[in-house]
Symmetry: C2
Subunit: 193 residues, 2 copies
DNA sequence: ACATCAGGTTAACGATCATTAACCTGATGC
DNA sequence: GCATCAGGTTAATGATCGTTAACCTGATGT
């Protein structure tokens, strides 16, 4: 009972295909074929093509926020530690799920209205999580600037899935972490307490 | 003779529409209507819908590279100064042409094959421009990592056009410059020589 | 006066696509 | 043994879209 396999297979292959060719560049026939079934069989698992995208994007936004909150809690009041945790988590997720990251910020606007609203809410909360820590770190920072800074950091971290895989993931992970922390004005690694 | 007005109007409105709804989300009828003409009249100015996108993207890639080279030359051997010049230029362009930036990294793959190749070449050269300066600044840095760092910086700088305009452009400009320089490990403003 | 032509127009064509309809089939509970 | 039903199939439908065709019109150079 633990394997609604088809459904998950569809979500996974859809992520790959959407990432490679864009939401509008993939037909339901393409998507079906890539799953070994064909065309309209998808409608036995999802209400529409948009529903596939909607489930994909809401679930990753939820997960990003959920684990993000966990990392902040784990830092227990130290904003620099919280930001290091947030950066680590975001890098880990982005490198582990490159297609999802690509789809998330490319095909966002192809969502149906209600799902778009839901994703926007989740993303706003995630931005707020980062912005709060940034403001705790530098007291002079106003909220809009802190939010803008958080979004710029996401841009940095989300950009690399698109790029070539010319360097190994472990090196990329450290490069991105260091750059993000540098951008945010947080001192990088120190003592693991 | 200095005003091929319609053509430029089409390119400008196409940039806005493509940025808002994506290349596939805009029909030629939409685009024509937004220009005050309608539908197939576009084909008097462009060979195809893809050709509009192609001209848009190649011209901005060319301009980005051209001025980038100029800024590097102006720094005359000082890599930190060159990077400050590159960051300034990129921020200026990104904030001045937000729709173009959005289209450039969202609808890249909708280009016809030859234009895609041309844009890729121009972007590779632009990345190389940044990577060279980064390597001149920190001698231990290998080329692939330098290129990855440059692309991450673009991600940071290109992300903000998408975001809300909650803070004034002048503040955003300074925030982005500071973050980009921080990410790249370049000391921010000093003496204007 | 007139041929040319740039820059419009509307109508028609041919693809492509998401979605629905109608039908099949094998397992499963009773 | 049999009704149910999940999960497939192919065929049909209706819309949208890029592109082409055929036609119109006003300015312009000669």
């Amino acid at each position: 009972m633990t394997e609604p396999s088809r459904r998950e297979q569809i979500l996974a292959t859809a992520a790959d295909l959407f990432a490679a060719r864009g939401f509008h560049g993939v037909s339901v026939a393409d998507l079906g074929a890539a799953c070994g079934i064909s065309g309209p069989a998808l409608y036995k698992h999802f209400a529409s093509k948009q529903a596939v995208l909607a489930e994909m994007l809401t679930s990753i936004s939820e997960r990003l926020l959920e684990v993000g909150r966990e990392r902040v809690a784990r830092a227990d009041g130290d904003p620099a530690a919280a930001l290091r945790g947030l950066v680590d988590w975001h890098v880990e997720f982005a490198l582990g799920h490159r297609p999802l990251i690509i789809v998330q910020d490319r095909d966002w606007e192809s969502l149906p209205e209600d799902a778009r609203e839901q994703v926007r809410r989740l993303q706003r909360a995630y931005v707020g999580l980062w912005a709060d820590q940034l403001r705790a770190l530098s007291p002079g920072l106003d909220r809009p600037s802190a939010r803008a800074a958080a979004q710029a950091a996401f841009g940095l971290l989300n950009s690399t899935p698109r790029a070539g895989h010319a360097i190994p993931d472990s090196a990329l992970r450290e490069l991105l972490s260091a750059m993000a922390l540098g951008a945010l004005g947080v001192a990088p690694a120190e003592l693991q307490r």
